[in-house]
Structure formats: structure tokens, C-alpha cells
Amino acid sequence: MKSLEELQKIKERALERRRMSAEGVRVRVVVAMGTCGIAAGARDTMTAILDELEKQKVTDVAVTQTGCIGLCEYEPIVQVQIGDGEMVTYGKLSAERVPALVEKHVVGGEPIAEWAIKQTA
């Protein structure tokens, strides 16, 4: 890249990609993969999510990773967003909880309220 215009173009392209409808993505799943998350088992959770999606033959889900969101106590943390809806943040989402999460929320569209981190006043 040799100019500001090119930087701007990359920005627009990246923003476009984030708009999920563009690439046939229905659900976004984000796994927090900072050191704190990995120490709490985020790698296992990530693997389990990918395995489960493959097993259930779900293809319209984008799984990405991110850094620490600040609630290290509640790692592994997984966020699920359907379409442009509200993002649900799950805490202590161990690999063994993944099949239920994929089935109920990712495929079924129903968040699992008791695993989500509730915001208090």
C-alpha cells in the first residue's frame, strides 16, 4: 500500500466483510483466546466448537477469535451473535457445554440464559 486512499479501500473492504450477510454468514461465534482464556481451556472449547459444527454440518457460522475481554475469572468466554442481533456473552463455557450451545443457540436460535454472563447494576 502506498497511499492513504489504499488504506481507506482496505478499511471499506474489511467493514464490508464484517457485514455478515455479504458472505452468507448467519451466526458469528467469537472465542476469547488470550492467555487467560487458553489457560482456562479456550483451545478445547474452540476445537469442540469447530468439531461440533462439522458434525452437525452447519456451514453458515463464522468462528473467530479475539483477545481477553476483561473477565478472566469467567474464562473460557464465548460470544454468539445471530445476524445483527444482540451479542450474547457466555462465561465458563467449557468444551463439554459446546454441543448444547451449538444445538440450542447457534442452530436453534435460543440463547441459554443460565450460562450467559448477566450484567448487574
Binding site: 478499511k11 474489511a14 488470550g34 478472566c72 475469572e73 469467567y74
Partner: protein, 594 residues
Amino acid sequence: MAYRANILISSAAPGAQEVEQALLDKIYEHHLDNEVQVMQAATLGPQLQGVELVIYPEGTHYVHLTPEDARVIVEEHLLKGRPVERLMFKGIEVEPLEAPASKEIRVVLRNVGKIDPGNIDDYIAVDGYAALGKVLTEMTPEQVLEELKRSGLRGRGGAGFPTHLKWTFARNAPGDAKFVICNGDEGDPGAFMNRRVLEGDPHAVIEGMAIAAYVIGARQGYFYVRAEYPIAISTLRIAIQQARDYGLLGENILGTDFSFDLEVRMGAGAFVCGEETALMQSIEGARGMPTTRPPFPATKGLWAKPSNINNVETYANVPQIILNGGGWFASMGTEKSKGTKTFAIAGKVKRTGLIEVPLGVTIREIVYDVGGGILNDKKFKAVQTGGPMGGCIPEKYLDLPVDYENLAKVGSIMGSGGFVVMDEDTCMVDIARFFMEFTQDESCGKCVPCRVGTRRMLEILTDICEGRGQPGDIERLEAMAKYIARASLCGLGQGAPNPVLSTIEHFRDEYEAHIYEKRCPAKVCKPLIEYVIDPETCIGCTRCARNCPVNAIAGKPKQTHVIDPSVCVRCGICKQVCPVNAISIESKGKLPEA
């Protein structure tokens, strides 16, 4: 053959084999193998709860079992017909997860946890590298410095030196080659803010460093990151490569005549290498030891060239200041401490983690509103800020607004933002000893006050904790602290006495109890405490005696047990295994021997 009981065990659970073996051994021991059948089921029920058992015909469901629990179940449930209430499944246990509505304002961390750190496009999508573009095409170095001055940004590594001044010194220093360095050697115990930034938003730091390079006139930069952060290092390397591929690092960036590139250097684990002159020695490949200042790094730094060295967090603030203006940044914080600061909350709080709040927030807000209060609802005792060079701040300052000046006033420092919370069960003398042990161990040994002084202070503190404290020890510690702080070469020695001085100031009574009464009020220091079994409560179950590693506990089954303090090593296992909480810790103390 018909069995009177059938047991299903969740054989897929981790540790199931050991539990099953313990179960079978006990069944054979009591010759129950003709009456009881054990069968393996992979899992029992949808909610995995450790090793589980179901005993039929009743259908009693036991969860989270250890081998010892299995033995108890055989003896109580199978042999005596008394189901073990405390091990039973009590409905689906879902721990409620709560987080407070955030008081955070995110500047440094605005992208962390929101973007994919492994993808530069994600960063560019949120205005990444726009600040660098603006600086290179629209601003002179002087204008950048002016903006930084307006922002009031101060070094986030702990000392709080105004960033614009530091950059100005490096800019004005004569020299053809100059360097920018990022200090990512986050060594304070319990501090992990920098790791989070490096792992979650590496490009923000890269962009900040590139801006610094433009201002001071450098074309080469170094990341110094401790080897204990392997994920941060690999994330950074990926980020640097992606920036190079896009031409955001390298020659003629964005078509201008500004060229800049970066390298990652790993620290080898010495705490003192977080000190800037020692860090530069380490980058050069020499042994990490501080050098005298002046000359300061700004005039004679890395390879004796003018260098600018800042903390990860300082650099990460810069792009935001450029994009939003210095005035915006200065609108947050207190009079002399502007902007936000990240803190790592650790220790005895309900929710450990990382936050970014405007400076000026009170300690109470951090501990109670963000940290959720003290673990097990115990009493707050103190908070240690700023790592091993910081001080312990007692309860009376809970409402103190946190900024550089206020922390210094109560004998502590901002440091890199470590926030270790202590509860009533913490012995402050023991804490002071712990930190002195750390600094003594990490002292590089170059200057005498630090090398010898920290060792002597540690010896006195150890004596106090072990019941050999002498009258006059407190005064001796205070005098030594003064000399070490004044005469040491670098921040490690200068700050090493802080934990001792602040605990003496705020918790002098605890030192006196240790020295004069040989008593540890928090019941922590092992030589000053005793484990005691309450004869009224003890049921003679023999569990403590069986678990004691040194056979210090005597007593027959069904009779009161007694601990022999001369044999006891104060490991506390008996207290953990006692089913009726009959064991307590006492620190009665004794009068000084004549």
C-alpha cells in the same frame, strides 16, 4: 445372581478410574462383592459433574467424587445404609455469572476482545493506522508533540513521566541513528495488562511506536517482551509481518519518505530488565544490568544512540490521542493524571480480571464495584498497588481517588497497574517478607545497597515471621529502608523498601505482635501458630490422623484426637479434611523469654 445394589459410575469423567478402583477395593474389603454390582456408564445425565455414581434400587445420585468419597460411600451407604447427604446431587448447579454494568472507559483496550488480533483488516476496519496516516501526511513532529502535551499523557510504565517531554528530549538529541523501544517486560506479580494489549490489539502498539519513530526521527524499533508471554510474542510477530505485507512497516510508508521497521526481542526472565537501562543492555545482548543515569536513554540509549522507551500502554494510547485530539484525552482523569489506566485486579476478590477506568476512580470502586468485593465476604484489609515496588494501602484510604500523586502520598506507586487485594486473613509482615524475598531474589547485584541491603532486610523480616524478632527490628528496618532507597542505582532498589515501609506505617501493631508477643494476628506465620482440635466437636472419625503427613495426630476411632505441636508441620491438611470443622488455628503467643 441378584444383587441388592447396582452402582453405575460415569467412567468417561476424568479421574473416574481412581474413584472406581477405590470403590471396588472398599467393596472387596468389606466382602460386599457378592451383594453389590458396579457397572460402567460413560456419562450419567446431561450435566457433567465430575465423577458421578448412581446407586440403585434407590437411585441415589452422587456427584463430584474423589476416591476418598467413594470409600465413604461404601462404608456409610452400602455397609450401614446411611446415604451420604453431602455428596448427593442437589439439582442442576449452574453458577450464576454476573458482571457489573461497566464503569470502564476504553481507550487502550477499545479493540481488545472485539477484533481478531491475527487479522490486520480487523484493525484497519476500526480506524487502524488512520492516526499514522494523519501524522505522516498532515502533521509535523512538532504538531504531534503539541497534541501529546495537550493530552497530558504520562508514562504508563509506572513513573508517570510526561510522554511529550520524553519524546522531545529524544527528538532534540543529536544523532544520525535513533531507536524507539517498547517495554513489554511486564514482570510485576499479578500484573497482566500489557499482555492483554499485546495479545488483543498488537497493531495499536505498533502504530503508536511508528508515530514515536516519526517524531524523534528513528527508523528502527524494538519490542522487548518477556519470554513468559509466548502468545503475545507470536501474535506480535504475525502482526508485524502483516503490517510489512501491507507496507505499513518498511520503506516509504504510505508513499512518504518515512521508513520504519520493528523487531521483537524476548526477555529471558529477569525482573530488573523491565528497568529501561537494563532492558537496553539486554537488547544489546549484554547481561541485563542497569546503568547510571544520566546519561538518559533519550541522549545515550540503545547502542549509545538517542532512544525513546515507553511502556506498551503508553504507545497504545497515542493513536487515539491523534485521532480524537489531546483535549478529548485530557477531559478524562484528574488534574495532573489524565486519561484512563488499565488495572489488573488480583488477589482476594470475587472477580479477578482487567479493567480500564479513568484515573481518579476510587479504590473502593475498583475493589467492590468492579472486583465484586472480597472473596467469601471477608473483610478488606489492604490493597497492594504497583507491584513489588509498591506499597500496601489500608482500609482507611478506600475512598482515595487513584492517580499518580495520591498513590505516592500514601506510600505506594501507580506502577504498571497491579492491584492485589488482601483480606483479613493476610499477615502484613508475611506480605512484606514475600515482596522482599522477590526483590532480593531479583536484585541484579550491581550496586551494594540493593544487593546487600535487600538481603539484610529479608533476614530481619524472616526472623520476625519466625518468632525471632528483637526489639529494635522495626527501627532497623526503617533505617535500612531509607539508605537503600536513597543509594540504589535503579528503581528496583529504590522501590524495594516500599512494601516494608508502608506496612510498618499502616500495620505497625502487627509487627509489634510478632516481635514482642510472638503472635501472628492473622494466623499465617507457621512458627507462630498451632492447629488445635476442639474436643467438644471432634467425632473421632480418624480422618485427620490418616491424612497427616507427619503422624502428628494421635487418637483412637470414636475418641477425641489430639495434635502434637512439636511434630506438626502446620500444613493444614487436617483442617481441610475434617468433616465437622473441629480444627482451628490459634496464635496465642508467648511472653518474651527472660
